[in-house]
C-alpha cells in the first residue's frame, strides 16, 4: 500500500462523499422512478473500488457509509457495514480486468445493489424491524439494482475522469 497515493484518495473522499450523501438525501428523491431512488453513493463507492482496489474501496465505503447514516432513519451504522461488505467483495476482482470490460461495471453495480440491500435487510431483521424479504426484493431491491446499473453507464465514465484527476498519470518527457 502506498500511503502517499492513498492520501489523495482519502482527501477526495473527505470532501466528495459528504456532498454525495447530501445530494443522495435531497436531490435523488427527485430522480426517483416509481419511488425507487438511485443509489448515487453506492454506485460511486463500487466504481472507486473497481478502479482503485480494496484499500481505497473500503476507505470510501466506510466514510460514505457514515455520511449516509447521518441522513438515514435506519440504525446508525447500517449503511456503513453494508457498504464496507459490498466494497470488500467488489474489490476482490482484478481492477484492470474490470476497467477493460465495458459491461462489467454495470453487472457489478447490479450485483452490488442486491448485496447491499440483502445486508441491510439482514441488519434490520436482526434489530427487530419488520422485514418482508420477498416483497422487499421484488418491489424495492431488484428495480433499484436495474436503475443503478443503467445509471452507472454515465457514472462509471465520470468516476474514471475523477480518478484521472486525483491520480494523474505521469507523462514521459523526452
Amino acid at each position: 500500500m502506498n500511503a502517499r497515493r492513498l492520501n489523495s484518495g482519502f482527501l477526495t473522499a473527505l470532501w466528495l462523499l459528504p456532498v454525495l450523501a447530501l445530494l443522495q438525501s435531497s436531490l435523488m428523491g427527485h430522480l426517483a422512478i416509481r419511488g425507487i431512488i438511485p443509489g448515487l453513493m453506492l454506485i460511486t463507492v463500487v466504481n472507486w473500488g473497481i478502479l482503485r482496489g480494496m484499500d481505497e474501496g473500503m476507505l470510501w465505503a466506510f466514510i460514505g457509509g457514515i455520511c449516509l447514516d447521518v441522513f438515514s432513519g435506519w440504525p446508525f451504522g447500517t449503511n456503513t457495514v453494508a457498504l464496507v461488505i459490498v466494497a470488500s467483495l467488489v474489490s476482490l476482482g482484478e481492477s484492470t480486468f474490470m476497467r477493460s470490460h465495458a459491461l462489467l461495471p454495470l453487472f457489478t453495480v447490479f450485483a452490488a445493489t442486491i448485496l447491499f440491500y440483502l445486508v441491510v435487510l439482514f441488519i434490520l431483521e436482526s434489530t427487530h424491524h419488520p422485514v418482508d424479504w420477498i416483497t422487499a426484493l421484488r418491489v424495492d431491491v431488484l428495480p433499484a439494482a436495474v436503475y443503478n446499473a443503467v445509471l452507472n453507464i454515465p457514472l462509471f465514465r465520470l468516476t474514471q475522469r475523477l480518478e484521472a484527476r486525483v491520480y494523474p498519470t505521469p507523462r514521459a518527457s523526452w
Binding site: S25, S26, F71, F76, G77, V84, P130
Partner: protein
C-alpha cells in the same frame, strides 16, 4: 490483484470499524445528529432548487400519468363532495348538541406548525423524510405530522435542533390505530414494502368495504382522532382467519410531499407499562 499483508490488515481494520459503528451506533448518534444539524440548511437549499427544476420537468414528462391521476382525483372529489354534504348536516346537528351539552373538546383545534420537507431517506427501504423544524421550534418525538391538506403523514421519530426525521405511515415500521368511518371497524394501518399501507387486524365479523374512509382512531393516545389516513381499495378475507385486511390508498401523495404541518398541541402519552410486575 495481489493483496499485501498490510492491505489485508487495512481491509480488516475497516471491517472491524464498520461493525463497531453499528454496535456503538447508539452512542455515536449524537455526533450524527450534530452533522445533520449542520447539513440541514444546505439540504434545504438543494431541495428548493431541485423542486423548482423538477416541477418544470415533471410537467412535460408526466403529462399522460397526470391526466390519469387527474381523472382519479376528479372521481374522488365527487365522492368527497357527497360525503361532505352529509357531514355538514351532521356537523350542524353536532354543533347544536354541543351547545346544549356545553361540550368542549380540548383537541378540537390543532396547533399546526408549517414545515418544509428538505430531504428523504437516502435509500429505498426506509421511508423517512427530513423536515426543517426541530426541538428549537417546540417539536417533540412522537408528534403527529400532516400534509398541507390535513391528511396523516406520519410521526416524528428523531429530533435535532433545526431538523427532524419523520417516519412515514407507508414505512413497514409504522403502525397507526385506525377506524373505518362508515362501519366503525377497528384495526391497525401498517406500512408495507409494496408501497401501499394495509388496514390489518380487523375482526371478520366487522364490515369493511372498498371506498370506505379510514381515519385515526386515537386509541392509546398516540395520535389525534379522526385524521384522514386513506380509502379502502380492496378487502382480503379468509375463511380460516380471525382477521381480515384491506389495501389502503393513502390520502397523501408521498412522492411529491413538499410542505407538512406538525401538530404541536398533541403530545402522545401512551402508558409505558400496563401491568405492574410482582
Amino acid at each position: 490483484m495481489v493483496e499485501t499483508r498490510g492491505g489485508r490488515r487495512f481491509a480488516a481494520f475497516f471491517f472491524v470499524a464498520a461493525f463497531l459503528v453499528l454496535l456503538l451506533g447508539h452512542w455515536l448518534k449524537p455526533v450524527g445528529d450534530m452533522a445533520l444539524t449542520v447539513a440541514a440548511p444546505f439540504e434545504a437549499v438543494i431541495t428548493a432548487a431541485a423542486t423548482t427544476v423538477g416541477d418544470a420537468v415533471s410537467g412535460v414528462v408526466e403529462g399522460p400519468s397526470l391526466r390519469a391521476e387527474n381523472e382519479r382525483l376528479r372521481l374522488q372529489n365527487e365522492t368527497l363532495i357527497r360525503h361532505n354534504i352529509a357531514l355538514q348536516q351532521q356537523a350542524h346537528e353536532n354543533q347544536l348538541f354541543r351547545r346544549m351539552l356545553r361540550y368542549s373538546d380540548a383537541n378540537n383545534r390543532l396547533d399546526l406548525l408549517k414545515a418544509q420537507v428538505i430531504g428523504s431517506d437516502p435509500n429505498n427501504l426506509a421511508q423517512y423524510i427530513i423536515i426543517n423544524r426541530g426541538s428549537r421550534d417546540g417539536l417533540r418525538t412522537g408528534m403527529t405530522v400532516l400534509d398541507a391538506g390535513g391528511y396523516f403523514v406520519g410521526a416524528i421519530e428523531d429530533l435535532m435542533s433545526n431538523a427532524s426525521k419523520v417516519l412515514l405511515m407507508t414505512s413497514p415500521s409504522s403502525s397507526v390505530g385506525a377506524i373505518d368511518l362508515q362501519t366503525r371497524a377497528h384495526g391497525l394501518v401498517e406500512g408495507t414494502y409494496a408501497g401501499r399501507p394495509q388496514f390489518h387486524f380487523v375482526v371478520t365479523r366487522d364490515s369493511i368495504r372498498p371506498g370506505d374512509f379510514i381515519v385515526t382512531s386515537g386509541q392509546m393516545n398516540l395520535f389525534p382522532q379522526n385524521l384522514y389516513l386513506g380509502q379502502v381499495l380492496s378487502v382480503t378475507r379468509n375463511n380460516v382467519s380471525l382477521f381480515q385486511s384491506a389495501d389502503i390508498l393513502p390520502g397523501v401523495d408521498f412522492h411529491s410531499l413538499e410542505v407538512v404541518q406538525v401538530v404541536r398541541n398533541f403530545v402522545p402519552s401512551a402508558p409505558t407499562r400496563l401491568v405492574t410486575g410482582p
